[in-house]
């Protein structure tokens, strides 16, 4: 690291490396940061005759009326947004945990025990990335229809006598749908890490008399903490804004926070509401993100 610093300062002008990062940074400023300001302006702005938002760009004209109204829908007497928030706070951790448990098992198997077939497994694991999320959930829709394959198999196994309404707002369907959609993002980072674990560490554990289970719990698991955290962040954070899984596999009874935003954008007069909700979601998510960044930095410094 010190060598690199020396070379950088001696042979490259000071603006050299920043100029590489400049185009993307400028892009992000104009198309990522600035739109957030527009969101603020819309959330604290007004609406026109049709209910389209009229953003107010000067902070001194901002009115918090809509924002307070929305907050009231979460904790007031008639808090009809609260169920959606609670559902999201239950679905996302549940789905993330399932992703972790299943994903870790699969990643572990492929990383450590796949042997000659590792390439094949890898291709199969990567395939969801290019199969398209929509197609995968769409396929499940077909299977979960009242006369679909799942119900037919259940009937054939005599488990369910009448067709089960999987697509009628069942939380389990939505949670499993979330897992189905996001689990590839958990498996790959975990695989990447488990693949590179130093075999010596594991053998040391075995030499000291620990069985496979103990080695796993005492050696592998603690080492994978950072990878697990990364996987959880990559999976859980986007899940908070997910609305399409519920749209396709659930109903209004299982509406999530993302559905609140999507409905607000589509409805007349919903612009400021959408802005306020997006604001709330960002505030909710920035905290775990900062925690993740700090722990990554600490892990890097320790390494």
């Amino acid at each position: 690291m010190r060598e690199g610093a020396r070379i950088s300062s001696v042979l490259y002008p000071r603006w050299y490396w920043p100029s590489f990062a400049a185009p993307a940074s400028v892009w992000l400023v104009f198309l990522f940061i600035v739109p957030f300001y527009v969101v603020l302006s819309a959330a604290f702005g007004t609406i026109d005759l049709f209910g389209n938002p009229l953003p107010v760009y000067q902070p001194w004209y901002w009115s918090t009326a809509t924002f307070q109204d929305i907050l009231g829908r979460f904790y007031g007497t008639d808090a009809f947004y609260r169920p959606a928030l609670i559902r999201t706070l239950v679905f996302v951790p549940a789905a993330s945990l399932l992703c972790l448990i299943i994903g870790y098992g699969v990643a572990y198997y492929v990383a450590r025990h796949a042997g000659r077939r590792k390439g094949l497994y890898l291709v199969l694991l990567i395939s969801p990335f290019w199969i398209s999320y929509l197609m995968r959930i769409y396929s499940w829709q077909g299977l979960l229809q009242p006369d679909g394959l799942v119900n037919r198999i259940l009937a054939w196994m005599h488990v369910a006598s009448s067709p089960v309404g999987w697509l009628q707002g069942k939380p389990s369907t939505v949670i499993l749908g979330l897992v189905y959609g996001y689990i590839p993002y958990m498996i790959l980072p975990l695989y990447g890490f488990l693949d590179r674990i130093d075999q010596n560490l594991l053998e040391a554990g075995r030499d000291l008399g620990a069985g496979p289970m103990k080695t796993f719990v005492r050696v592998t698991l603690p080492l994978s903490r950072q990878a697990i955290l990364a996987g959880m962040v990559i999976v859980a954070l986007p899940m908070f804004g997910d609305y399409f899984t519920n749209d396709l596999l659930g109903s209004t009874k299982t509406a999530m926070f993302g559905n609140l935003i999507d409905n607000a954008v589509q409805s007349p007069g919903g612009g400021p509401q959408a802005g306020s909700l997006v604001l709330m979601l960002m505030v909710l998510l920035v905290v775990p993100l900062l925690y993740y960044l700090r722990s990554t930095k600490r892990a890097q410094e320790a390494a």
Binding site: D48, G51, L54, K253
Partner: protein, 424 residues
């Protein structure tokens, strides 16, 4: 050179650069200055405020104000144009687009369809400038708002000869747009209850005191659908409670309607759809649902599997004609790039041959033309089990239109709908 003199003498390059910079910055500065004034100031005249505060009703007809003249009848037809039609999904027979293109092939015309899911979405996107359309298909509920916001242009009736003679007397001077300044009628329809007679016997519906309640029946859990349309679904709940004024501003009534819909969803896991009736009831997915008259006809005409008789579908509408009634309109927005061609298209759709073909071959919605005798539709066009779908002129006296309301009442309906969509 002396530093002072250098500072005073600007080189030509400097001057050019600075003036160019100013020229680029000026529009930006103007925009900023414009943005600096206090926003949301209303610039509406008192007439407009009047119109918005007193929306059109059958007993209170409205003449919409004119802001510009209609296009001259002598305007030439635009060449090489693509006509943008902005409509509900599956509402206009695609073959009619091809026939229109063929008819005007010497002008090298193309027709392109953009769709919206429900009227709120359609109006919102048009008013936000997200969609630019040549012909738009709204209903009267948002008409005043559209006109007052100068989003629609008045029609040039010299270009619409098909309108004059062919339409019902009730439409010669509609109460929501006296003189047909901005609109022409497209279809008429009622909102009733559609059901599959092989799962829900006729007798069951007839025996109920309040047939609307069949939608709340837990026996059909998972088999019920209602419309993903704010006003339509809340109106149905109001009707179920015997409230004929579906444009009521009474917060208690709106609240009651909202709670009823939440109870409906709870009891039956009802799905909010727009095409649930015509496509999925035909596929035996839904057995009962709130339905527009045209949707169930469309299911019978087009979507049923080949070996299933249309008699499997049934439709109920209050026998006294006191249910929800509506009609859809054709309008030309001000943002239209091809107004002359738009008029030609409207005229084309007003031709009774085309509107009848649209009705019987595609969308099942009756056009209010005098050439169609409602009593003769059954059984030649409409199967006997669906005879209630036929709309007769007397319904316009007994039925209730979904119409515009004041902004504050509109907000009440929106809040109620938000709660329904949020899962309660």
């Amino acid at each position: 050179m002396h530093p002072g003199s250098r500072a005073r003498r600007m080189s030509r390059r400097d001057f050019l650069r600075r003036s160019a910079g100013a020229a680029v910055a000026l529009p930006g500065a103007a925009a900023i200055l414009a943005a600096c004034s206090k926003p949301g100031q209303s610039t509406r005249t008192s007439i407009e405020e009047q119109l918005l505060a007193n929306p059109a009703r059958p007993d209170h007809p409205v003449t919409l104000p004119l802001y510009q003249d209609p296009i001259a009848a002598s305007t030439p037809i635009e060449k090489g144009a693509t006509l943008q039609v902005y409509n509900w999904e599956d509402y206009l027979w695609p073959r009619l687009f091809r026939e229109f293109e063929d008819k005007f092939s010497k002008y090298d015309v193309k027709v392109s369809l953009t769709t919206f899911n429900n009227i709120d979405e359609g109006v919102a996107k048009l008013s936000a400038g997200q969609v630019s359309a040549d012909v738009f298909f709204p209903d009267p509920s948002e008409l005043t708002k559209l006109v007052v916001s100068k989003l629609l242009q008045p029609l040039q009736h010299d270009l619409l000869p098909n309108l004059a003679a062919n339409y019902w007397p009730e439409f010669q001077n509609p109460f929501y747009d006296k003189g047909w300044r901005y609109t022409v009628p497209y279809t008429i329809y009622t909102t009733g209850i559609a059901y599959r007679r092989d799962h829900v016997p006729d007798s069951k519906i007839q025996s109920l005191d309040n047939p609307y309640e069949i939608l709340w029946d837990p026996e059909y859990k998972g088999r019920v659908t209602i419309y993903d349309d704010r006003r339509e679904t809340l109106s149905m709940a109001l009707m179920k409670n015997g409230i004929k004024d579906v444009n009521t501003g009474d917060p208690k009534l709106i609240d009651m309607a909202k709670n009823d819909i939440l109870a409906l969803i709870d009891a039956t896991d009802a799905k909010l759809t727009i095409n649930g009736i015509y496509s999925r009831m035909a596929e035996d997915v839904f057995w009962v649902g709130s339905s527009w008259s045209g949707d169930v006809c469309s299911a019978a005409f087009y979507y049923l599997p080949k070996d299933v008789s249309p008699e499997v579908l049934g439709f109920w509408y209050p026998p006294d004609g006191g249910g929800v009634i509506g009609n859809d309109l054709m309008v030309v927005p001000t943002s239209s790039k091809n107004p002359r061609l738009a008029h030609e298209f409207v005229n084309f759709m007003l031709d009774t041959k085309n509107s009848f073909a649209n009705f019987t071959n595609w969308n099942g919605y009756q056009p209010p033309t005098t050439s169609i005798d409602p009593t003769a539709l059954v059984p030649k066009v409409v199967p006997p089990s669906l005879k209630e779908t036929v709309v007769v002129p007397s319904y316009f006296d007994t039925g209730s239109f979904i119409l515009g309301v004041t902004p504050s009442v509109d907000a009440l309906y929106s809040a109620a709908w938000d709660e329904i969509k949020a899962g309660g």
